[in-house]
């Protein structure tokens, strides 16, 4: 018995139903007192590659398992193509899952593994055999049809798991860290392959991963999860260029976050903020739309967007400029990475492309410099900045 009353009509549910393939409405999941998912809603459009990205324990796998029917939400609704499937068992849902451990049936041949789903649905023998064969060809494993899973490599087992799910022509494919157990090279190769297959067959993929690069390279939409909630969802570019929370800013790539106080905006498109030591910085006003004004605010900039100048040089006129001292300079071949400390005691990371080719014109530890960046590249986050 759920103690939380069912929401009869979520505001989002009034939108067009055809476009939305998978929808979670105000889903909660608790184990006793332990809250795994707290009030999570998401919409996934038909045919999209959707990634749930987050650190381990953030609830991303639980979310996926609720879509698949392996976990029942404590409250809230799960909809597939507009139908409420919250209480339906997995075998009655039109989605299929690829498990991290592959979960192939060890006592059945590859062919029989792939045919399993079709046999359960009563597809006739001839048709089943044909479709299983086609699907194995699609994942380039036609020659291994008679093998047992025990005789496959990790990459092959992964492909069989994919074929076994896709052969049922599901409405959506759920992938639970499907590449987690593979080595880097194979992982990159299978990422491309997954993306290609998704484009070819055009069904919705929901992909759970903790690898930000994997999510960014494959997904149309990424939902960054933290502590049982979605922190921010959007395209890879949205999340990288305009993160809205310190967590997102640092989970996808690294960010320089500087605590500031917001001041009155000027007449142009920029607003002004002030650092703790009194430097004025500017950012686009429309970036501040989501501030609720109750929490501490920090502005951020990505390390590669920041330029370094000698103390005697003049940075571009409209850039944000802060004086700083070099703590450490690291040569990384493709780039140079600087650790800096601003006059206000803020530590910054700057990555400069290796354009010079020798150590002249670079900066050494102890040197006074100025950092500058285009005010348009400044983003703003709300909340405690860890380690600031």
């Amino acid at each position: 018995m759920t103690t939380v009353p069912e929401t009869t009509q979520h505001p989002a549910a009034t939108g067009s139903v055809e476009q939305r393939d998978i929808c979670l409405e105000r889903v909660h999941k608790r184990y006793g007192d332990h809250v795994v998912i707290g009030d999570l809603s998401l919409d996934i459009e038909q045919g999209k590659f959707y990634a749930l990205l987050g650190p381990s324990g953030c609830g991303k796998t639980t979310t996926l398992r609720m879509i698949g029917g392996f976990e029942l939400p404590t409250s809230g609704r799960v909809l597939l193509a507009g139908d409420d499937v919250t209480q339906l068992p997995p075998h009655k849902r039109e989605v299929n899952t690829v498990f991290q451990s592959y979960a192939l049936f060890p006592h059945l041949t590859v062919e029989k593994n792939v045919a399993f789903g079709l046999e359960r649905r009563g597809v006739d023998k001839h048709e089943t055999k044909k479709r299983a064969k086609e699907m194995l060809e699609l994942v380039q494993l036609g020659h291994l049809a008679k093998r047992k899973p025990g005789q496959l490599s990790g990459g092959q087992a992964q492909r069989v798991a994919l074929a076994r799910a896709l052969v049922n022509r599901p409405r959506a494919l759920l992938l639970d860290e499907p590449l987690g157990a593979l080595d880097l090279r194979l992982r990159r190769q299978l990422q491309d392959e997954l993306k290609r297959i998704q484009r070819d067959i055009g069904i919705t993929f929901v992909h759970v991963t903790h690898d930000q690069e994997e999510a960014m390279s494959m997904a149309d939409t990424i939902a960054v999860m933290n502590k049982g909630a979605i922190e921010q969802a959007g395209s890879a570019e949205d999340l990288y260029e305009r993160p809205e929370s310190p967590f997102v800013a640092n989970f996808l790539g690294t960010s320089n976050l500087i605590p500031v106080t917001v001041e009155q905006g000027g007449a142009d498109e920029f607003s002004t903020v002030r650092t703790s030591d009194g430097h004025a910085l500017r950012l686009l006003r429309n970036r501040m739309w989501n501030l609720k004004g109750e929490q501490p605010v920090a502005i951020g900039v990505r390390p590669e967007k920041v330029r370094l100048w000698g103390a005697d040089q003049t940075p571009p006129e409209h850039d944000n400029v802060l004086p700083a001292k070099v703590l450490q300079a690291t040569f990384l071949g493709v780039s140079l990475q600087y650790a800096l400390k601003t006059a206000g005691g803020q530590e910054l990371t700057v990555i400069e492309p290796n354009l010079v080719g020798n150590s002249k014109g670079t900066f050494g530890p102890g040197q006074d410099v100025q950092v500058s960046w285009d005010a348009r590249q400044t983003f703003v986050v709300e909340g405690e900045t860890a380690g600031a």
Binding site: L104, F105, G150
Partner: protein, 301 residues
Amino acid sequence: MSTEALPQKPTDPVTPHVPGVDDSATPRSPRGDTGRGRNLALGLWTALALTFLLAPILFMIVFSFNDNQGRFNFEWQGFTLKHWGDPFQNPDLAKALQNSLSIAVLTTIAATMLGTLLAIALVRHRFRGRTSADFFVFLPMASPEVVMGASLLAMFLVLGIGTGYVTILLAHIMFSISYVVVTVKSRLEGMDPHIEEAARDLGANEVTTFFRVTLPMIAPGVAAAAVLAFALSIDDYVITSFNAGQTQTFPLFIFGATRQGVPPQVNVLSTMLLVLVLLLMLGNVLLQRRLAKRDRISQAG
């Protein structure tokens, strides 16, 4: 294991591992001479240990061919096949063996089924009282047989159930279940639960998942459990003796017979029983091997 079987230079510092040869019996000699002596000693010791283990069984088999005179079968009096020609000559003995076999078969079926289901419930489901159920299942294994036999008898008397074939059967099923649960449980715990989820994900309901995926995968455990239940039931004396009433089982009959002199048919039937149990065990080993080969999943890429 003799050293001659493994030709090697005495100075060879490293003895290569010979596949298929048990390591404990493989000579590992850093120096030739002492190594050879040690191997001889080890061989002798092994032979002694095996003799100690197997001599009683050998005696039983040999004396099934004894042409004994009178009631006793303790003295070798000449070779004969007459006991083997008519092992069921003694009607009481035949009846006792028949009881034992039918009880063992029924116990195996019932205990394996109930124990397997119990193991699945304990491993796969979270329910109130699971921990205590998990604990109490082990109780029949841990408690002394005499205590169990006596308490079962007390229970049957209180309930007014006359002791006999049925009470023996109930008692056997009861103590066999524990062993089945333990055996099947360990197999289930080693099984990736995602495999059953994958079956349900692919459209199999609970029943289909059980018969098409779970059961084939835990089959080695279930087979081992069944052999164990059979072996436990067929040779149980203590608990049976409390609950047998007028019913005779093979162990009860032999025990009774030793008081007056063991008829050689006992040796014959025991030998047959031994062969039957050995065959069962062999079958189990072969099955386990086949299933292990089937289940070997390479994790490496």
